[in-house]
Amino acid sequence: MITQRNWTKITRTENIPPREGRSVKVGSLEIAVFNINGRFLTIENACPHKGGPLCDGMVTGTAVVCPLHGRHFDLETGIPVRASEPSCLAVFPTCVEDGVILVDLDAGHRAFESDAA
């Protein structure tokens, strides 16, 4: 299956320093784009716990640690690193072209939906 990507230009790569994240408002949602030493990954910005700004979290390998209460999420899958946590994050396909980060805003995907209401 070939997926047609619908890329949106977000920002130049140098605006996101290595191993840090930055948030970008898109419509009613905020996404957080991370620079994993030259690879860019995008997740939704709000922590499922209490809405912590994940863009401000510390990066460890390919995971981010929420700055408010320390939950860990894998940036590639959006899945919480500790299996006991019930919710995951949406991840968005991301690539770089001519020094600009592109995100497919129509292909955000959650690995699973939480049972909790």
Partner: protein
């Protein structure tokens, strides 16, 4: 090593011997195993000395160092050294070890081709190693890998060449070797297998290697670690029986009744040796034989190899041939963890094993193997054997003669004896008295268990390791960072860690670098918590709080007006008087921070940082009718001298003008209490999660002395506190007596150095809020706007 170990045993049995030790190295007996740590800069040559000059002196041993024995006349019982001097003997021990095996490759005689056997070799390598030097290590066994690691840590660009298809093929199978290879490559060392070196090229000086295939590789430095061969020359000269090594029987006697041999130079029942554990057994046996207590016999037990290579644990024991008749293998692999286990089973009995990366169950397996445990009922648990319900069982099960520390030949019985004889209660004491666990550290777990089981007042180790990403204690890491001149968190993680780091170790390492290099390091913002990236305290809704510095809790009408104006202009939802005598502006948007700081025109109060918070003061002599010291101005001066510096945890101070203590100095990290004609300096107070009255550090007469004592304690805590250790835990851990000894009572020279380091840090520090106008990156505070008009995102 084996020779002197034998002498130590001889002295225990019979201190009357008149002993001369010859050694052609100029150094006293040192721990050869630790040469790789010296090469890597983790230990100094002094730290690996096993027997210092005092030991030789106090045991009345004549040490002839740097003297090579050239001849033995066994009929006249005389040895002659290279200078031609003769020394008569009644009994002679040969413990000449082995030599590096140099394969017959053309070009091995060129400059910059080295071996790695002695301290001098190590120093020679250290002298040549430098950043980016193309280095090739020939040989992928223990020595080659250790040399590779040491040189890589020194910045060399290292490639390991190995003849066989996999690394350490003698101890590991192909899969085990592959796991090891991947871990090593992960550390940044190139591995090329299988490669046969055909020639070392270059004109006098190495410039490359050519392999049998014709392929070539550039090299500026070559280390040959292709194996060892017993150094049996003296045996041949003496005319005693020699094959590959000097032949010894079970009592360590050679074919001449007055000549004995121990160590790697020996050959016992056709076997030669390359690791130290069996050599210590030999030393014990020989000590019995030579002191006329002939009885104990040496038997090279089923080979069990316990090694730590580049921080990777490896254990192999028993049979390795899994193709043999009736042998079943059970394996477990986890590439992500880098763990590999393989058990060889025959007739439901364990006959051999290989463990790489996860050696936790080594002891249980050894027990199974040695006792021939029937594994039929345990089949489902082979790879993850259940933890013994009785934690002491594992050590209780071992015979006293079992070697616990293979590196230093320390047996269970020796440890128990030492625990009682010296009243040992901590690992540190155990290491000091027995040397167990001082080399590779693999037996630390066993030693710990033994201590717990045997020592009546066992105390858990207080040196905690930082975290799983960089598994070293704080003390060790401080030495490493300093010794290796590491200047960035990434560098430490790449060389000594798992390259990722976590939210525990990254800020801790950031702190350590800042403190050790007095601020002159490569600051990596990504390794800091968000508060330290934007210099404000994150709130539950993602906004920030701003606490300007108000030295000593003193403000002015002008400052108050500016604060009020800023609160209005930026619609700050709350302005609050804090518990630390200053004002907090809460709910500020990240994007507004630079403007808020600019308009306030006040420095950062560091309310977000593990650093200097405030000095709370009372009104003192300036206004108070009881005041006997000028607490307000002393507090302001103290704050100005220490502000902008980072500490292991937040650091709060108080200065009061009399013992009524209105600014609560006795529950601060550091407090100054004014008395009539003097100041009391108190440290380690707390009134947060726990309440602790501060300990008196010292009483001094003048304000200047009071500030100096404060600075001494402050810098001492900065250098010796573990990250996230508040002063109240620090003072309890070290004890106030020790702290006094190392600070206010220290020799002038030490004090001067402490203060000098503090002042250097201070000179390089700056008010973090200046970054508002000079951000470290363009989006430090500014939010990103999407280039293209943003659309409503869709989840699929």
């Amino acid at each position: 090593m084996a020779g002197v170990a034998c002498v130590e045993q001889i002295l225990k049995r019979n201190p009357e011997f008149d002993i001369t030790i010859f050694g052609d190295e100029t150094h006293v007996n040192y721990n050869r195993i630790m040469l790789s740590l010296v090469l890597a800069g983790e230990k100094s040559a002094d730290e690996i000395v096993l027997n210092d000059a005092d030991w030789y002196r106090s045991n009345k041993i004549r040490a002839r160092l740097g003297v090579k024995i050239a001849g033995i006349d066994r009929h006249a019982r005389i040895v002659t050294d290279e200078q031609g001097e003769s020394t008569p003997y009644d009994r002679l021990i040969l413990a000449t070890g082995s030599k590096a095996f140099i394969p017959p490759i053309p070009g091995v005689d060129k400059d910059n081709v080295h071996v790695f056997r002695t301290l001098d070799d190590t120093h020679a390598l250290m002298a040549k190693a430098r950043k980016g030097l193309k280095t090739v290590v020939i040989g992928g066994g223990l020595l080659g890998l250790e040399a590779a690691r040491g040189l890589q840590v020194r910045g060399c660009d290292v490639t390991v060449i190995h003849l066989a298809d996999s690394l350490m093929e003698r101890q590991l199978d192909a899969t085990g070797g592959d796991y090891l290879r991947r871990r090593i490559e992960g550390l940044g060392i190139r591995v090329m297998l299988p490669r046969q070196t055909a020639a070392i090229m270059g004109n006098g000086h190495v410039d490359g290697l050519r392999f049998a295939t014709g392929e070539e590789l550039k090299a500026d430095l070559v280390v040959i670690a292709a194996g060892i061969k017993p150094n049996a020359d003296l045996g041949r000269i003496a005319g005693i029986e020699v094959n590959r090594g000097i032949v010894v029987n079970d009592f360590m006697e050679t074919s001449d009744p007055q000549i004995f041999a121990v160590g790697e130079c020996t050959e016992h029942r056709g076997q030669t040796f390359g690791l130290v554990a069996p050599l210590f057994d030999q030393a014990r046996v020989l000590a019995a034989t030579i002191t006329d207590n002939r009885g104990p016999v040496f038997s090279a037990a089923a080979p069990a190899t316990r090694l730590k290579i580049m921080g990777i644990d490896i254990f192999s024991a028993g049979a390795t041939d899994d193709k043999a008749e009736g042998v079943e293998t059970v394996r477990y692999e986890d590439p992500a963890l880098g763990a590999y286990k393989k058990l060889l089973i025959k007739d439901n009995r364990l006959i051999g094993m290989i463990l790489v990366g996860d050696v936790e169950d080594e002891q249980t397996y050894l027990d199974w193997m040695r006792s021939g445990t029937d594994l039929a009922p345990l089949r489902r648990q082979l790879l993850f054997p259940p933890a013994a319900s009785d934690q002491g069982l594992e050590v209780a099960d071992m015979p006293d003669s079992e070697t616990i520390c293979g590196c230093n030949g320390v047996r269970k019985g020796d440890i128990i004896h030492s625990i009682h004889a010296h009243g040992i209660t901590t690992m540190a004491e155990l290491k000091e008295k027995t040397r167990a666990s001082t080399s590779c550290g693999t037996c630390a777990g066993l030693c710990q268990k033994l201590l717990r089981a045997v020592a009546p007042d066992f105390q858990e180790e207080t040196k905690t390791s930082l975290c799983a990403c960089v598994p070293f204690s704080y003390e060790r890491l401080r030495e490493i960072v300093k010794g290796q001149k590491l200047k960035s968190v990434e560098e430490v993680l790449a060389i000594y860690g798992n390259r990722k780091g976590c939210e525990v170790c990254k800020p801790a390492l950031s702190y350590m670098l800042d403190m050790l290099w007095c601020g002159d390091h490569d600051e990596d913002r990504s390794a800091r918590f968000i508060n330290d990236r934007v210099h404000a305290n994150i709130q539950k809704d993602g906004t920030f709080s701003v606490v300007p510095r108000m030295r000593g809790g003193v403000t002015s009408p002008d400052e108050l007006r500016r604060i009020a104006d800023v609160a209005d202009k930026y619609q700050i939802p709350m302005v609050k008087v804090t518990g630390s005598q200053r004002l907090d502006l809460l709910g500020v948007k990240k994007a507004d921070l630079p403007a808020v700081w600019r308009d306030l025109g006040m420095p950062s109060g560091q309310a977000y940082a593990k650093g200097v918070r405030m000095v709370k003061t009372c009104v003192g002599t300036e206004f108070c009718r009881f005041g006997v010291q000028d607490s307000t101005n002393t507090g302001i001066e103290l704050e100005a001298r220490l502000e902008n510096l980072f500490t292991p945890h937040k650091f709060k101070m108080g200065v009061v003008g009399c013992p009524r203590n209105c600014a609560e100095a006795t529950v601060k990290d550091l407090g100054l209490i004014g008395q009539d004609g003097s100041w009391q300096i108190v440290v380690g107070g707390a009134a947060g999660k726990s309440v602790r009255k501060a300990d008196l550090l010292v009483t001094v007469e003048t304000r200047q002395e009071a500030i100096e004592a404060s600075e001494l304690f402050f810098q001492y805590y900065r250098e010796n506190g573990n990250y996230l250790e508040r002063s109240y835990d620090f003072v309890e851990r070290l004890g106030i007596e020790k702290i006094r000894k190392d600070t206010v009572y220290a020799p002038d020279e030490e004090k001067r150095k402490l203060l000098e380091r503090l002042h250097r840090s201070k000179a390089l520090s700056h008010d973090a809020w200046l970054e508002g106008d000079r951000p470290v990156n363009p989006t430090q505070f500014v939010p990103i706007e999407a280039i293209e008009k943003a659309r409503e995102p869709q989840l699929v």
